[in-house]
Subunit: 141 residues, 2 copies
């Protein structure tokens, strides 16, 4: 079964994710944000999602997992859920402190990004394509 260690794309992708996450997390440490939280903040600020469901689809994360991942950010007051909405859906927004945290973290993210891109032995576009392909959920993409 050496095949598994050699070729398994889950093993390789997970290992890569662990290593990459650690590097970005280390870079962002001074800000108190994890890379997961940082990218989540960016996504919310950019998409201004009307429902957690749509955000989950974009990030390719299970909806209920996202619900919980948001909690530390809510607790820190960096995002807020808006109850007043159209019935069931609860829009999500980055707060003013959240935007300040983003601005503070951005330069550190750029450093980590530069360092990680520098490791690539192939063009960034190739890497992006591969990761996007792996990310795709089903035949619909």
């Amino acid at each position: 079964m050496d095949e598994v260690g050699d070729r398994c794309l889950a093993l390789r992708t997970l290992s890569a994710a662990r290593a990459v996450t650690r590097r970005y997390d280390a870079a962002l440490r001074p800000t108190g944000l994890s890379i997961t939280q940082f990218t989540l903040l960016v996504a919310i600020e950019s998409l201004k999602p009307d429902a957690i469901t749509s955000l989950a689809e974009v990030l390719c994360i299970e909806r209920t997992a996202l619900s919980r991942t948001l909690r530390p950010l809510e607790a820190k007051g960096l995002v807020e859920r808006q109850e007043e909405a159209v019935g069931r859906a609860k829009p999500i927004r980055v707060t003013a402190p959240g935007r300040r945290a983003l601005a503070a973290a951005y330069p550190l993210w750029r450093e980590a990004q530069r360092d990680t891109e520098a490791r690539l032995t192939q063009p960034h576009a190739e890497a992006a394509r591969l990761l996007y392909t792996l990310r795709a959920e089903g035949p619909k993409y």
Copy 2:
């Protein structure tokens, strides 16, 4: 900061890992093993590690995290730690039931592997190289 959503390798790698993991996990569901547990079993059976530390390095996982990830496998009796060893180090071994579980899961893994490879828009070797590069810890690799 659209740059983050477009280029961040942590975001892309994590998203890919989530999607890929879900597919392999779904395929292995009948066996009661997650893909993480399956690949862990394979690695242990193949490496027969004398210490948890060496296994953690190979898998690019934090040692104390690995310690905990092993617990469900120990609880199910699929692996065992050997106390009698050379002092501090505790070798890890797959048990007979563990080997049976591996044999049962292998065909299901192969299906998931085939399906996932079929999604790749570039040669498997290219994908492997990229993921390996991202996985690398530091300059030593």
